[in-house]
């Protein structure tokens, strides 16, 4: 108890010291005087004291539960794996529920809200795409936004110069972004971890700078205005109608991306990605072509970014290099990490939280980014594995000890 009071007091003093210039001092520029608002120190002190107390309590509880679950896991591997399969089914129901709800909501929402949800879903697909590269293959890519930009500019420029439409641009942009992904992949094949992160970060910036400075082709910082939205079978919809239409397009894209990544995960190449993340040398010893696997991860990840790029250009009807800064890459990466590396449902949840929360926190004005940051810290301390830890599809083995069950095992995999 005394120990706790001591610790919390120290933290409170530290916070008072840190926030002193912000909350106590106020410079009046006109009178050239300084206001001292000493009463604020009291609030900061009391607040920090109690919050640190609560924080420690939760941390302790978390550590205890970690320990007890570790003890339980030993020796009951069969029962836990069955539990995991059950969980996958639960996820399926959850997904179906979300899908149905999502299909109905635009009928009741304002255009503004529809627009926010569209943005959130765009980030779901971007997160799923980056999830292939970072979550599954374990290649830390900080320049993912480059492929997003490639997609957006593909549509913008093709439309400007050749009048190509939305639907035809989608596959073109996807393929083009995927080729950029492979192109980036080739020089970084031998890099890993921090080095890979730095190079991909550089690549992202290069693409943005090229877009900004190659005025002749990209129109430079002024961007490309007037990009048309997709027409509904030739019918021009109004502003609200357009939003609803875009909503359903992105909803379909989310579903397709989800199914695709899910299938990829349990495929041969998906397995090799996860193996690659775990141990590259062992992969080579197993005869996996690591070059091909890495390039496939970069390419397929970039493919989704390209497609969403087209969608982004259509939605905002304007693209400029300003939309593709490192901040975007960071947000998408946060979605993947916060959601739980490699987890599909986790990405959806995290995209929802990271995109919707700042929007709905707008009423708190100046504090919303502070709260957002605090929330991220809390998340990473209490759930370092992400919101939903990824569960690879596994096959349960009933407790029989015969050869038939192995035979079943193999036939069930085909």
């Amino acid at each position: 108890m005394v120990e706790n009071i001591k610790k919390s007091s120290i933290i409170a003093v530290w916070f008072i010291f840190l926030s002193f210039p912000l909350v106590v001092l106020r410079v009046d520029y006109i009178d050239k005087t300084i206001d001292y608002r000493w009463h604020n120190i009291l609030w900061i002190g009391i607040g920090a004291f109690f919050i640190s107390w609560v924080w420690r309590y939760f941390l302790k509880r978390k550590n205890e539960s970690d320990k007890s679950s570790e003890g339980k896991n030993q020796g009951t591997s069969a029962s836990t794996s069955r539990f995991q399969v059950q969980k996958i089914f639960e996820h399926k129901f959850a997904l179906l529920g979300i899908l149905i709800a999502a299909a109905i909501v635009p009928q009741f929402m304002s255009t503004y809200q529809t627009s926010i949800f569209i943005t959130a879903m765009m980030y779901v697909v971007l997160g799923l795409g980056l999830n292939i590269v970072v979550g599954m293959a374990g290649l830390l890519d900080l320049g993912y936004v480059a492929f997003y930009a490639v997609g957006a500019y593909t549509y913008g420029l093709l439309n400007l110069h050749f009048g190509l439409g939305f639907w035809i641009s989608i596959p073109i942009a996807g393929v083009l972004a995927a080729s950029f992904g492979v192109l980036l992949g080739i020089p970084v094949l031998r890099l890993r971890g921090d080095y890979l992160a730095i190079v991909t970060l550089g690549f992202g910036e290069i693409v943005r700078l090229v877009l900004e400075n190659w005025d002749v082709v990209t129109r430079g910082p002024s961007g490309i205005p007037g990009i048309p939205k997709p027409a509904f079978f030739g019918v021009k919809l109004g502003f609200a109608g357009n939003m609803t239409y875009l909503f359903y397009i992105i909803l379909a894209l989310v579903v397709i991306a989800m199914v695709a990544t899910r299938r990829l995960q349990s495929s041969r190449i998906g397995r090799s990605w996860v193996a690659l993340r775990e141990d590259e040398i062992a992969c080579q010893a197993m005869g996996i072509d690591t070059t091909k696997a890495k390039l496939a991860a970069f390419g397929l990840g970039a493919f989704w970014a390209g497609i969403i790029g087209v969608f982004f250009a259509a939605k905002s009807s304007f693209v400029s290099p300003m939309s593709f800064t490192f901040f975007e890459s960071a947000i998408i990466l946060s979605i993947v990490v916060l959601g739980g590396m490699g987890s599909v449902l986790g990405v959806i949840l995290a995209a929802g939280i990271l995109i919707l929360l700042p929007e709905y926190l707008r009423f708190m004005a100046d504090y919303r980014l502070l709260i957002f940051g605090a929330l991220m810290v809390v998340m990473m301390v209490f759930k370092p594995g992400g919101l939903i830890t990824n569960i690879r599809q596994q096959y349960t083995l009933p407790k029989r000890n015969s050869k038939e069950e192995l035979a079943e095992l193999h036939s069930s995999e085909t």
Binding site: A78, R268, A275, E278, Q284, M286, G287, I288, T291, A407
Partner: protein, 236 residues
């Protein structure tokens, strides 16, 4: 079956192998012994393509393989059990074995081979759904060997399977290596520091020192060789 002719490998400017010549015949167990830093692992990695030799030739069944990529070499039937086991810790045992059979498509054959390795190491079958990281060191080595067997190797390259294991378990594992050699006629190239155990199961042996082969003879002869006894068997 496999022949190394004047193989020289480098790490940057440092020459690890100074011209290795050795030969393996079908169905043999050949061991390569030597101290720390002699170049044992480098020799093995040069064969499996993880290190590309700068000079020299590696000839497998009349074909030069020193320029091939690791995955192409595995396709030829040269499968390596890497040093330090290198199993996939987050994968279950079953998944590890499936990764071993990554290049194969014959469902029936894979199943038969899986039964075979479970026959060799029954403990793995008991723990089939357990994640491999939770296994003990000896069990992990068993899994690493089993995983390599799942690729149905013609030549099995083993890199220090005794590393960090208890003497009793080492004995078990070496017996099983011998068994694999007999039952499947799998040629085995065993790189070892534990010279005593390795020489006992091997047909022939090479002694490697500072990147060069200094001795080469039948294993039974080397086991009684005075200089080998002194340097590697701890006897004087």
């Amino acid at each position: 079956m496999l022949k190394l002719v004047n193989v020289q490998s480098f790490y940057g400017k440092i020459q690890a192998l100074k011209g290795i010549n050795l030969e393996l015949h079908e169905g043999e167990i050949v061991t390569l012994i030597g101290g720390n830093g002699a170049g044992k692992t480098t020799t093995l990695m040069s064969i499996s393509g993880l290190v590309k030799p700068k000079f020299g030739e590696i000839i497998y069944r009349g074909q030069q393989i020193q320029t091939l990529n690791p995955d192409e070499i595995v396709k030829q039937g040269l499968v390596q059990v890497p040093e330090g086991r290198r199993i996939f810790p987050d994968f279950t045992i079953l998944e590890n074995l499936e990764m071993g059979a990554y290049l194969r498509n014959d469902k029936a054959g894979i199943k038969a081979d899986m039964d075979y390795v479970f026959g060799l190491f029954p403990i793995l079958k008991e723990r089939i759904q357990q994640s491999a990281g939770t296994l003990s060191g000896g069990e992990q080595q068993m899994l690493a060997i089993s995983r390599a067997l799942m690729a149905r190797p013609k030549l099995l390259l083993l890199d220090e399977p005794s590393l960090g294991l208890a003497p009793l378990i080492i004995k078990d594992i070496f017996n099983i290596i011998k068994q694999i050699n007999k039952e499947h006629n799998t040629t085995i190239f065993l790189v070892e520091q534990n010279a005593n155990q390795a020489l006992q199961i091997a047909d022939r042996a090479y002694v490697l020192e500072n990147g060069e082969i200094t001795l080469h003879d039948k294993a039974s002869v080397l086991l009684n060789d005075e200089s080998v006894k002194k340097a590697y068997l701890g006897m004087s």
